[in-house]
């Protein structure tokens, strides 16, 4: 089991104590491709942030690759992020002043990969996503689809076993969306577990399983 959540609760301490996640339990097996759907504000992104160790639940337990995450120190959580998890965001979140190559290399800078191996591996990944001829370009010189491809390559940099994608096709046209889905399916076939938040039912159809959420609960 890559992901196991037990009774996750996330409460934001606002004036009315907003309950973003309400007793969410979830299991995702190794090699699964799971999509999460639901209306805006239903808690999809909050769940994804907790699964990605970017946020902590108010209550409940989350096990990543069988290990409890509740009392992990910051350094361990950071290590778990670069070691086990690759992120793909809706707005790409690339560094605008860095080249394609440097953007892909960025997660490796925080890993224990030897310095001299970083750029060759980044180049390899760029070629794999079909951007081998744009290594020195910055994100501003790329299309949306190309940017998301770079983000995919960056997510693969440290060879994680889990990819968390937050509406990866949300900012793309249908052709680019299909390309990204195809790429994710390809990665999934290679054994990478993927959890993807999406609003697009057609994209969700391309995954193994779809989880529906509403008002912080899994339906």
């Amino acid at each position: 089991m890559v992901i196991r959540c037990e009774h996750l609760v996330k409460i934001y301490q606002t004036a009315d104590a907003f309950r973003a996640l309400d007793d969410v339990s979830l299991e995702v097996k190794k090699g699964e491709f799971v999509s999460i759907m639901g209306p805006s504000g239903c808690g999809k992104s909050t769940l994804l942030n907790i699964l990605g160790l970017l946020d902590e639940p108010t209550n409940g337990e989350y096990f990543l690759n069988g290990a409890p995450t509740a009392h992990m120190k910051d350094s361990k959580r950071s290590q778990a992020r670069w070691k086990n998890i690759g992120f793909i965001f809706q707005s790409f979140n690339l560094m605008p002043h860095l080249s394609v190559l440097e953007n892909i290399a960025l997660p490796m800078r925080y890993s224990n990969l030897p310095h001299k191996e970083i750029l060759p591996r980044a180049r390899e990944l760029a070629i794999r996503i079909g951007l081998g001829d744009k290594l020195t370009n910055t994100p501003l010189q790329l299309s949306g689809g190309q940017c998301q491809r770079v983000a995919c390559a960056r997510a693969l940099a440290n060879r994680p076993n889990l990819i968390l994608a937050d509406e990866p096709t949300g900012n793309l046209d249908s052709k680019a969306s299909t390309d990204i889905l195809t790429l994710l399916q390809e990665l999934n076939r290679e054994g990478i577990t993927i959890v993807m938040v999406t609003h697009d039912p057609q994209i969700a159809q391309g995954t193994h399983r779809t989880i529906y959420m509403k008002d912080g609960k899994i339906l």
């Binding site: 970017l54 910051d74 950071s78 992020r81 670069w82 979140n93 800078r109 925080y110 310095h115």
Partner: protein
């Protein structure tokens, strides 16, 4: 994140925000320039004082007495002093009675000395020889003349000018530069003296004696007993300087007490000699050097604080404008320590640039100030200290904003637009 990556990332950010970086670097540079200049001058002063102390010898005491001191008294004093001490007697008189080939030479001081004169305050290059003990014992009619280096504009004066019959009296200082008096005979009073040595004085920028030890008149040295005999011809009053060099700072007080007892035994119990300790002179010079630089150090500190606040301000602004980036880096695996180190590295790079620019400004200032005196001050420890000051300031002023950046929650930072 490894150090090369931290440096590379920091450098990229500095290049991306040129104006902001420049202002921080400039503020640091002003502080460093002030420190660099001040420390260089301070270093030079202490080095000069150290050299002066080396030249003067360890444990020096000077005392002036208005009596002549015979050679017998000299030996009595030397025997009473701690082992290893040397005593130099000097006595002087202004006179215009030197002549060379019927040409009157003026503007000098006749000084009677012992060979021990060389034990302290001796910076000359000798051409020929200095007065030796044989000259003292046999009262040889020999002289040693000081030659001062030519100044730049003097080169243009034709040497023939000095052989002109129109000049009745010529300054010996000018004359000795152009006419080699070595082994020549000069008349002092009615007695013929042979010049056995020329003392070439160093140029002023290489004369490391304390200003008060420098002789600004031309000196003609004679054997002490010869001077003692002939001085009565033109002068009744004596002023003898007794200079004791003990060889160790630790036995100065003991030597001083012996010296006072000796002088009282010779000149009466009421005699109150005014002893001058070289250690005290050095202390005074050190104090004066330090007092003179206090204001500049204060200005340097103020400038560094201003520079540090600049760094802090820039780091704060960077963090504010790069919150999203911090979130992305955290999501990709950066720990709090990575973020802390990243911003501190950036600040240290700004500090290093400030140090380099500041030292360049300081160095140019030193060159400008050294113009004319020929004295150039430069020490590697000052370079190291300047870099250290810049880096320390940058580090401490960047610490708080960098720590704040490290504390940002990844999820909150990612949402920031």
């Amino acid at each position: 994140m490894k150090l090369p990556d931290l440096i590379s990332t920091g450098w990229t950010e500095i290049r991306l925000h040129k104006m902001r970086s420049f202002l921080s670097v400039f503020a640091i540079a002003i502080g460093v320039a002030t420190f660099f200049y001040t420390l260089s001058v301070l270093s030079q002063r202490y080095r000069d004082i150290g050299r002066a102390a080396d030249i003067a010898g360890k444990g020096r005491i000077d005392v002036k007495v208005d009596y002549p001191l015979s050679l017998q008294q000299y030996h009595m004093l030397l025997n009473a002093l701690p082992k290893g001490s040397s005593v130099s007697l000097e006595t002087d008189a202004e006179t215009d009675t030197i002549s060379y080939k019927n040409k009157k030479l003026a503007g000098f001081i006749l000084i009677g000395v012992l060979p021990t004169f060389q034990d302290s305050t001796f910076v000359y290059d000798i051409e020929g020889r200095f007065i030796n003990w044989k000259d003292i014992e046999n009262k040889h009619l020999v002289a040693v003349v000081t030659v001062y280096p030519r100044e730049k504009d003097e080169e243009r004066v034709h040497p023939l000018y000095f052989s002109s019959e129109t000049a009745d009296i010529i300054l010996l200082s000018d004359f000795s530069k152009r006419v080699n008096l070595l082994n020549q005979q000069v008349m002092i009073g009615t007695l013929p003296f042979t010049v056995v040595g020329l003392l070439h004085a160093p140029p002023i920028e290489k004369d490391y004696r304390l200003p008060e030890d420098r002789e600004y008149f031309l000196e003609v040295y004679l054997p002490y007993p010869v001077w003692y005999d002939i001085s009565s011809l033109w002068r009744q009053d004596f002023s003898t300087r007794i200079r004791v060099v003990t060889g160790k700072d630790s036995n100065v007080r003991q030597a001083a007490s012996i010296l006072v007892s000796f002088l009282r035994s010779q000149f009466g119990a009421e005699f109150k000699p005014q002893l001058k300790f070289f250690q005290d002179t050095l202390r005074r010079y050190n104090r004066e050097a330090w007092h003179g630089l206090k204001t500049m150090i204060f200005m340097g500190i103020v400038a560094m604080i201003a520079g540090g606040i600049g760094i802090m301000n820039v780091t704060m602004a960077i963090i504010f404008s790069r919150t999203k980036e911090i979130g992305i880096r955290r999501a990709l695996g950066a720990s709090r320590r990575d973020i802390l180190f990243q911003f501190i590295t950036e600040a240290l790079l700004l500090g290093l640039c400030g140090a380099i620019l500041g030292m360049a400004i300081g160095y140019i200032s030193l060159l400008y100030m050294a113009e004319g005196t020929g004295q150039m001050t430069f020490s590697w420890w000052v370079v190291a200290a300047s870099i250290l000051i810049a880096l320390t300031t940058s580090f401490f002023f960047a610490l708080y904003p960098a720590y704040q950046a490290a504390l940002l929650k990844p999820v909150n930072a990612l949402k920031y637009e």
